[in-house]
Amino acid sequence: MAASPDPRKNQLLAALPAVEWARWLPALEAVSMPLGHVLYESGMAMSHVYFPTTSIVSLLYVMEDGASAEIAVVGNEGIVGVSLFMGGESTPSRSVVQSAGQGFRLPGALLKEEFNRSGPVLHLLLRYTQALITQMAQTAVCNRHHSLDQQLCRWLLLSLDRLEAPDLVMTQELIANMLGVRREGVTEAAANLQRAGLIRYRRGHITVLDRSGLEQRTCECYGVVKKEYERLLPVRTAR
């Protein structure tokens, strides 16, 4: 068994003042989040919100014909279930675990109550929501204008920022679903990055070898989103 999971690995939970932290702690429930696990289907009412600690969750918009595209990722910097406290009630996207790990969940009713106290929790969650909005807007424009190579770099960097080690367990099929492209496209883009010595890809494992190389190759969308998160959210640990 691994050491018991630490909720403070999630940066929103870590930023809670002592009073709120003491109130939340008994209600926080550790959950393991296996790869591909669906936390929410779009349109579903949400009973809990999730705080990833070592996992990454992908928010996907699913079209009528079943095709999907990633609109944002949420890791240890964030919370899954923003529409619950913002009053949207159900989620417009599907939430899928894209990198296996741990997280914590909290009953939605409790979070709503905390949000409505209009204290530090409200401000923290609102700022996170704004950061998420920026990520969504940037993802839309990236989808339109940037090459698959660049998008894959962005996607890898966003994932890397949310993980403790430079390794991702990931199938090309999953990446293709996230990016909303065909699998062959992902294979080709991954091969390009591998040839350039930026990543190593083997049997569902991606290891990032050259982070600054990825940063040079990606589009500015990565930087825009990162800057916005840094501006709006509690200080991140430097990497």
Binding site: Y61, M63, A67, A69, E89, P92, Q130, A137, G180
Partner: protein
């Protein structure tokens, strides 16, 4: 429904309880929305927020050296400046008037003060942020998967809803910019819609001739956005 209420007051304001509504109106002044005016530059501190009464504003994600992409549209159903209500001072978006009209404008400081004293306004804007997120999500997937024809039809319907008039001014360059495609693609798609008798486009004047036909030509994203809006904000009406 958007079309049945006379186009006099912004819908978010209209739905507020009387006292909150009066406070907001007292803090605001009516200003014209001039076609093509840039209300915000990306990353500049926001001096005013806008609640359109008539006309509409595009939220554009701009990328240096490349055409931008419209990621959201704000008309009488919405507001420009929701990020202030979320605690951010600047947003990485360009705001561009795309349909002439008028708006209630409020200085950023006065807006924050009004917001602090109105729970109803806070809740209303949080819900509106959900609608905006739903629009971003649809948009991200739509630009990824849908052809320019259905996207143009969707975009014309969104403009038509917000213009609340059968005619509005548009250029091909502008449509191309909004949809993030080349001009030739838009010209061809508009030609198709015109040949099918759905629109008339003459000297920059766009007329919607057959709304039902246009709805049939649009991708499902148009209906998805409308449903999201009505689910979250459609019911609430002030006494």
């Amino acid at each position: 429904m958007l079309c049945t209420v006379p186009a006099t007051l912004n819908r978010l304001i209209e739905q507020l309880p009387r006292r909150d509504r009066s406070a907001l109106l007292a803090a605001s002044q009516t200003v014209p929305l001039v076609l093509g005016a840039v209300l915000w530059q990306p990353d500049a501190a926001v001096r005013h927020v806008y609640f359109p009464d008539e006309g509409f504003i595009s939220l554009v994600t701009a990328i240096p050296g490349e055409p931008g992409l419209e990621v959201g549209m704000v008309g009488r159903e919405g507001m420009l400046g929701v990020h202030l209500a979320l605690g951010a001072r600047i947003a990485p978006l360009l705001a561009l008037v795309q349909g002439a009209g008028s708006a209630r404008r409020i200085g950023a400081g006065a807006f924050r003060r009004t917001l602090v004293s109105s729970q109803a306004l806070q809740a209303q804007l949080h819900r509106y942020a959900c609608v905006l997120m739903a629009q971003l999500a649809t948009g991200a997937a739509c630009t990824r998967f849908h052809q320019v024809g259905p996207r143009l039809a969707r975009w014309l319907l969104m403009s038509h809803d917000r213009a609340e008039a059968a005619q509005f001014r548009l250029t091909h360059e502008f449509m191309a910019y909004m949809l993030g495609v080349r001009r030739a693609g838009v010209t061809r798609a508009a030609g198709d819609l015109q040949r099918h008798g759905l629109i008339r486009y003459h000297r920059g004047e766009m007329s919607v001739l057959d709304r039902a036909g246009l709805e049939a030509a649009a991708c499902g994203c148009y209906a998805a956005d409308r449903t999201a809006y009505e689910r979250v904000l459609g019911r609430a009406r002030a006494p």
